[in-house]
């Protein structure tokens, strides 16, 4: 599939993620059936698709959590599926992953959740430097006063924000968002969309946003990719994907608008 030039969006044609011919199956279940995708520096790509269409599998492969059966996955110039040990860890420090469930460590306070990746990866950092980094990340997500709270005391939207802050603390070059607005009310969803755009501007990140929320895809994605039955049916601007004449895509969009 041809990828459009993006000078008007990101002023860059340098790719940070390049996926070619990606296949992934779980036993008899073929989830991804030949995915091609390029994400350029500074660009947000929203991946739309039904539940179970393989969206989350795709970003887990990009993050190196799953291995592809076939195909090439190049992240920041490295074949992530072929890396191991220290090399993989070094690359992962440059990738942020915001989980659908937020995945906050529930035995730790918000402060400890944010400080944990720093203390484990940068042993030379002092407590003052860690505190500054934590406060900066909390400030970036608009929750500077939540340091002492436990994850169980936070609302769904706050947990998502803290989850994003925990990834931002490592200053990633790529952000991967797995269903950032799922289970949230429209107001909180729009705040999260705003946060994703602010992160892109403030941290100059490139992002892949996995969602089935059209508003989220439209407001955060510089490009939108429509994933159906393990393949991308269309990649382009949101309007281009929206106006696709494919019957399945039309059904997907009409259902969302009825909702």
């Amino acid at each position: 599939m041809e990828t459009p030039k993006l000078e008007h969006l990101t002023n860059s044609n340098e790719s940070v993620i390049s996926i070619t011919g990606l296949f992934k199956s779980f036993g008899e279940l073929h989830v991804l059936k030949g995915i091609d995708l390029t994400v350029f520096k500074g660009e947000n790509v929203a991946v739309l698709g039904k539940s179970g269409s393989g969206k989350s599998v795709l970003i887990k492969i990009i993050a190196g959590l799953l291995k592809p059966d076939q195909g090439e996955v190049i992240v920041l110039g490295k074949h992530i599926d072929k890396l191991q040990g220290r090399e993989l860890d070094e690359l992962r420090l440059r990738i942020g992953f915001s989980f659908q469930s937020s995945a906050l460590y529930d035995s730790m306070s918000v402060y400890q959740n944010l400080a944990f990746p720093l203390t484990m990866n940068f042993k030379h950092l002092g407590s003052k430097e860690i505190k500054n980094a934590v406060m900066e990340a909390l400030d970036a997500v608009g929750l500077p006063d939540k340091t002492d709270q436990m994850p169980s005391d936070l609302s769904g939207g706050q947990r998502k924000r803290i989850g994003v802050a925990r990834t931002l603390i490592l200053k990633p070059e790529i952000m991967l968002y797995d269903e950032p607005t799922s289970g949230l009310d429209p107001v909180t969803s729009s705040e999260i969309n705003e946060l994703i755009n602010n992160v892109q501007k403030r941290y100059k990140t490139s992002s892949v946003i996995i969602t089935h929320d059209l508003t989220c895809a439209k407001s955060t994605g510089n490009r939108t990719a429509m994933l159906l039955d393990g393949r991308f049916l269309k990649i382009g601007k949101f309007e281009e994907v929206f106006n696709t004449q494919d019957e399945q895509v039309k059904r997907f969009f009409s259902y969302n608008f009825i909702q």
Binding site: K60, A63, G64, L65, L88, D89, E90, R92, L93, I95, G96, F97, F99, Q100, S101, A103, L104, Y105, D106, F116, P117, M120, N121, K123, R166, T167, L170
Partner: protein, 275 residues
């Protein structure tokens, strides 16, 4: 004829389906064993590689110790009292009640102390590790560690297995002492024996091999409880149902293996004793 043919074809299909199901079950069983073997051997590789999380090991030691201390104290004391009370009539028949401290020494230090401690810890610690890691797995907290370039096996598994391997032998030793104290209170009530004489008599009957076997057993039990809890938790699936299943399987499997190891280690110790 046609009906017969049809019936025989159906029978063959049923046998064929059963064969496929059976062979899949065998495959899954063997894959499971291979997975558990790899998970266990990985511990010995990761445990000696940097970085070392000493603080987390100490935290986990406290968790394991404090979680089981009260129960082990009460159970140990009761075992000592009850076992002495039940052994007394038989020894009285032979006029051999003076052998009670020796008998209790052998029974409590060699067998009951380590076994009871291991069973209590399999229930309390094994299930807790299985549930905690299982819940971390299904809520993607383990994946979150991995994407933050933190080795979850090293941070979660190695530290917990080390903690159980260190703490359970200490708890077993403590349990044996408390059980002997329970036994002493009963002996003292009947015969006014002094505590020093009681403990001296109890330990006089134990050889170095007995104590070494007991210690080895508890180390093996500790390792088993830790690794089984972690393995089941780390491989939990199917959401909250999977967490409960992981905790339950961790207890059942750990208890079964503890009994199996008890038999094997006692048998090996007996061979060593006779040669």
């Amino acid at each position: 004829m046609r009906v017969k043919d049809c019936n025989s074809t159906m029978k063959m299909n049923t046998i064929g389906t059963k064969k496929v199901v059976f062979s899949k079950a065998v495959d899954n069983y063997l894959i499971g064993i291979d997975k558990a073997y790899r998970f266990t051997t990985r511990f010995f590789i990761e445990a000696f590689k940097k970085p070392f999380h000493f603080r987390e090991v100490i935290n986990q030691c406290f968790e394991v110790g404090l979680r089981s201390l009260a129960l082990i104290t009460v159970t140990g004391f009761i075992i000592g009292v009850v076992f002495t009370k039940q052994s007394r009539p038989s020894l009285e028949d032979f006029g051999a009640t003076s052998w009670l401290p020796s008998l209790m020494g052998i029974a409590l230090v060699k067998a009951l102390g380590p076994l009871v401690t291991a069973l209590i810890c399999a229930g309390k610690v094994g299930s807790s590790i299985g549930a905690e890691l299982g819940s971390m797995k299904v809520t993607e907290q383990i994946d979150a560690m991995e994407v933050s370039a933190i080795n979850p096996y090293k941070y979660l598994v190695v530290t917990r297995v080390m903690a159980t391997t260190i703490t359970i032998p200490l708890l077993a030793l403590y349990c044996s002492f408390i059980a002997l104290y329970g036994s002493y209170t009963n002996v003292h009530a009947e015969e006014s024996t002094g505590i020093t004489l009681f403990y001296q008599s109890a330990f006089k009957s134990l050889s170095f091999l007995d104590l070494f076997t007991s210690l080895t057993k508890t180390i093996v039990f500790g390792f088993t409880i830790g690794i089984i809890g972690c393995y089941k938790g780390f491989n939990a699936t199917q959401g909250t149902r999977g967490v409960g299943k992981a905790a339950n399987q961790a207890v059942v499997l750990a208890m079964f293996l503890v009994f199996l190891e008890e038999i094997v280690i006692v048998q090996i110790a007996n061979w060593i004793r006779y040669f």
